[in-house]
């Protein structure tokens, strides 16, 4: 089977990915990185998980009616990813740009499996994904992420909190259970796909410094 996720890509551009649970601060880190890269003269393109127009209608209907099963949830996100890979990831890579992805296939490996989808099946599903030049995982304990989310928003979202699984009707409690499982899956993924781990408990500036160091090192390598 064609497994592009297993071998380095040959595009002139670079693909950097951030991963982490909600409240890990990865999006903040990614946007700071984007600013820095652009200011350094790189052409940067940012793409976000679950953002293609194609599946928006179905995802919205499904989420509103809480009609998504773990499997349709997984397949809709894969459809979104396939669409974005074709339009938003491969073309900028071919043009020699730096593509920054806020979440990637690893998010599916963590979340979908936490919801009960088969671990190998979801890996086979995403085998068509371009292998990132580097994926950075912002690791954070549940308590920290809950505190950050609660400080920022009033209500945890239905699927984000894993309320579809019926483990607890209390959103915060459900979030803890669900994201706890997601963290366990991420731990597995870190070894399996060689993700770079950054401690997301540190200050924003501290993390950004470490993040930039990793990216700089990668950019200095000539592509093999």
């Amino acid at each position: 089977m064609l497994d592009t996720l297993a071998s380095p890509h040959a595009y002139p551009g670079r693909l950097f990915v951030v991963e982490g649970i909600d409240g890990s601060g990865k999006s903040t880190q990614l946007s700071l990185l984007a600013k820095w890269l652009a200011a350094s003269g790189y052409r940067v393109f940012v793409t976000e998980w679950n953002s293609s127009a194609l599946v928006k209608a179905a995802t919205k209907t499904g989420k509103k009616k809480a009609a998504l099963t773990p499997m349709t949830f997984s397949l809709l996100h894969a459809t979104d990813f396939a669409d974005r890979q074709l339009y938003n990831i491969i073309p900028p890579l071919k043009a020699g740009m730096i593509v920054l992805a806020d979440r990637y296939a690893y998010t599916a490996f963590a979340r979908d499996v936490a919801r009960g989808v088969d671990r190998q099946w979801v890996r086979d599903l995403y085998s068509f994904a371009v292998r990132p030049d580097m994926a950075v995982y912002f690791r954070v304990p549940i308590d920290v992420s809950v505190d950050r989310l609660l400080a920022r928003r009033v209500k945890l979202k239905f699927y984000e909190a894993g309320l579809d699984m019926g483990w607890s009707s209390n959103p915060t409690e459900s979030f803890r259970i669900f994201q706890g499982r997601v963290l366990d899956e991420y731990d597995r993924i870190v070894d399996e796909y060689e993700l770079q781990v950054l401690d997301a408990r540190g200050s924003i500036t501290e993390q950004q410094r470490a993040f930039r160091a990793l990216v700089s090192a990668n950019l200095e390598q000539t592509q093999g």
């Binding site: 089977m1 064609l2 194609l54 599946v55 209608a57 179905a58 209907t61 499904g62 009609a67 998504l68 099963t69 773990p70 499997m71 349709t72 397949l75 809709l76 894969a78 459809t79 396939a82 669409d83 074709l86 919801r115 009960g116 989808v117 088969d118 671990r119 190998q120 099946w121 890996r123 086979d124 599903l125 085998s127 068509f128 597995r188 399996e192």
Partner: protein, 253 residues
């Protein structure tokens, strides 16, 4: 790749009917449900829907509970698929994945509950249509078989086989050739008739390749509606006769 790995069956034949082809849904383990899946496969215009309507009538008269399921009919996905088709923005992978999502929705919400409740599920097309279409469009054949590992192997699969010329005449007599049936998205050439023939010929090759793999019962789709229906009833009747899990309500004499 991972430590949990079960036996990797992919989605090849040799799977017991009523079981998942490959990596199924771990959160929905299957038991020996009393229901049965009968799939009717075949290209557009071959007369599947007519045959299914007649079969349903016949089965219900004999006392079997019947539900029908067909491609792109899930409430979740239908609007998106229709929109994507009309705006022509589908590429080969999103095309395949939208169909898989539609199938998953119907599998979990229609097919499995019906099997549990002892219905006969008449499937107007099954995963084989998706595999054939993907194959023609150059999607990796192993990848798509693994993708559909979550599908349940039907108890019977009938394939209505027809040659592209006979099919073209039939389709022209009824609704006319459509953009998608002609595979025009593949941009093989401007002429819709030629494109239709080329596309349908490629589809036939894909179906033929699957016949052994998935145990198709092949029927001659050029025959009359009645003679196809008679053959379907004969084979289904025989199958149900030997099946002890599912029994019709017998009319009192």
């Amino acid at each position: 790749m991972t430590s949990h790995e079960t036996t990797d069956r992919g989605a090849h034949g040799g799977v017991t009917p009523g079981h998942y082809y490959g990596h199924g849904l771990p959160y929905l383990p299957l038991a020996d449900y009393p229901g049965r899946i009968i799939a009717i496969e075949g290209t557009d215009g071959v007369g599947r829907s007519t045959q299914i309507r007649l079969l349903r009538e016949w089965l219900e008269v004999r006392g079997y509970g019947v539900i029908e399921t067909g491609w792109t009919r899930s409430p979740l996905m239908q609007p998106t698929i229709d929109l994507a088709k009309s705006s022509n923005t589908l590429n080969k992978l999103t095309f395949v994945l939208l169909y898989a999502c539609d199938f998953a929705d119907r599998l979990e919400k229609e097919i499995i509950p019906a099997l549990r409740a002892g219905f006969i599920v008449l499937a107007d097309r099954y995963i084989y249509t998706a595999i054939a279409r993907a194959g023609v469009r150059g999607v990796d054949s192993q990848w798509i078989r693994r993708l559909y590992g979550f599908a349940i192997a039907p108890h019977l699969v009938f394939y209505l086989k027809i040659d592209p010329e006979a099919l073209a005449r039939r389709v022209l007599e009824s609704s006319g050739i459509s953009y998608w049936e002609a595979g025009m998205d593949m941009k093989a050439g401007g002429d819709i008739y030629d494109s239709f023939r080329t596309y349908q010929r490629q589809l036939l090759r894909e179906y033929a390749a699957m016949a052994d793999e998935f145990g198709f019962r092949v029927l001659d789709g050029r025959k009359s509606i009645k003679s196809i229906q008679d053959e379907l009833r004969r084979q289904i009747g025989e199958f149900l006769e030997e099946d002890h899990l599912i029994a019709p309500t017998r009319a009192t004499p």
